[in-house]
Subunit: 250 residues, 2 copies
DNA sequence: TTAAAAATGATTAATTTTGAACAAAATTAT
DNA sequence: ATAATTTTGTTCAAAATTAATCATTTTTAA
């Protein structure tokens, strides 16, 4: 295995994983650590990776959205389960909306290899899907650094310019009495416009949010056609949502 | 087995496997290693394969895609000098356009602490400015993964919605005869609309691009009011640009 | 046929790459 | 803050690869 081949593998791994460490590379490529270090030194010299203590990182956009990745790790299992179900509802050629929720974000790995168009206002989603088979359309507007997403008049106008088959949206709360609720007006606005401009709306919502109302109730349950949730969801509550007209997948 | 036959087999193998090594080729083609080396030297001389230590590999695998950050590091000194000058032209409260050129990208560190609004179609620029004092407005649209930026109808429409004091734009070529030229139609479109919607247009252009024409000439010199360049710029050329109406800063 | 030219192989020296050992620097834990 | 650990840089030696030189074989052409 010569330098060129190692270089390929290292770069691939850095691209795929976001970061690598010397030990694992040495083991994986079956070569000494000192050589890996030399390789990394060359690659970072060329500006192709960012050298860290003990390894290297992807440079470019990787920095900021990483913080989001960690946040989305709360209830990761449930969210992944939900996303895996959601991905089954997507076909090649689809045009889909994805909002800036942390559950929706976890849909990315499941759709990277699909030839679909994604319209999103979420920076982390875009970052995850760039360079994949997915064609990404980012919703423009003022960027909220905290939410890592675009919101506002221009963003909703942008969304209105497009027509999607499916919208995959997160909500912060859902209840029979007050419908869907969000933690901020801004997010609600995006949810509404994405839903309005897509043929079918999927709600990605873990069971922990059932019968919880958040700061800003903004829509009836009927905004969505399908609710995708996890297996711990209470049967009785599900039944009541079904009666309200939602198709529930779990 | 003569050279022509070996050449064919070597090329086939390189194509199929991606990479080959001298030892195996010598064994496989039943010929000495030195001959294989000579063959590889000829093939690589002709640019048909990439010679590595101990073997050879496919050109496409050996050549690595230059990342944006890496590209921006070419002529970094000149670019930084230009950007430092450009930053002096920015005041608190300004609304500025920044395009997706690699020179413009390097303006980011100089403006991070300014309370201004930046409208940009460049992902790296946005990434650099997020979390700083700058308020970032990202131009939406289809994201070109290679250029790391948004282009197209929706992007230009988005730009038209805003009015900026100043536009900081890169060009790929500039000449007295043919004006400004770009490497792609898409980039030219963005440059034009940013310039049209800002009060003053600054061209950030290192002297290496003077009197060079690129693929797509798209505007006369008069599109910009000010040209910011480096100190190595030829005095005579500068004089001619000044006569054409440009204010030149260096 | 026979000399000249070209291609190949063998040997050896030079170069490049890799690995090992250890001190210096940086990071982490106490 | 201090000690322990990890990571890194440096130096040197070993191994692998290549380049150079020259002899041998094969091909070419008069």
């Amino acid at each position: 295995m010569n330098f060129q081949e190692r270089k390929q593998k290292i770069l691939d791994l850095v691209e795929k994983e976001g970061s690598v460490d010397v030990k694992r590379l040495a083991l994986h490529l079956d070569i000494s650590e000192i050589t890996i270090r030399r390789d990394l030194a060359i690659l970072s010299e060329k500006g192709m990776i960012y050298r860290t203590h003990g390894g290297a990182m992807k440079l470019s956009l990787a920095h900021d959205p990483i913080s989001f990745v960690q946040k989305s790790a709360v209830n990761a299992d449930k969210k992944d389960y939900i996303c895996q179900l959601a991905a089954k509802g997507i076909q090649e050629g689809d045009v889909i909306f994805m909002d800036c929720g942390s559950t929706v974000f976890r849909l990315c790995p499941f759709i990277r290899n699909m030839r679909i168009k994604v319209v999103t206002n979420s920076l982390p989603v875009m970052s995850q899907l760039l360079g994949s088979a997915v064609s990404v359309n980012f919703v423009g507007g003022e960027i909220d650094p905290e939410r890592q997403a675009a919101h506002g008049i221009i963003a909703t106008e942008h969304i209105r310019r497009y027509r999607a088959n499916k919208a995959f949206l997160g909500v912060d709360g859902i209840s029979l009495a007050n419908g869907l609720s969000a933690a901020s007006e801004k997010e609600a606005e995006i949810t509404l416009s994405m839903s309005a401009n897509s043929h079918e709306t999927f709600l990605l919502c873990d069971s922990g949010k059932f019968e919880k109302d958040r700061y800003f109730p903004f829509a009836p349950l009927s905004l969505a056609q399908t609710l995708i949730t996890d297996q711990e969801a209470d049967a009785e509550i599900i039944e009541s949502y079904k009666k309200a007209g939602l198709k529930v997948v779990k």
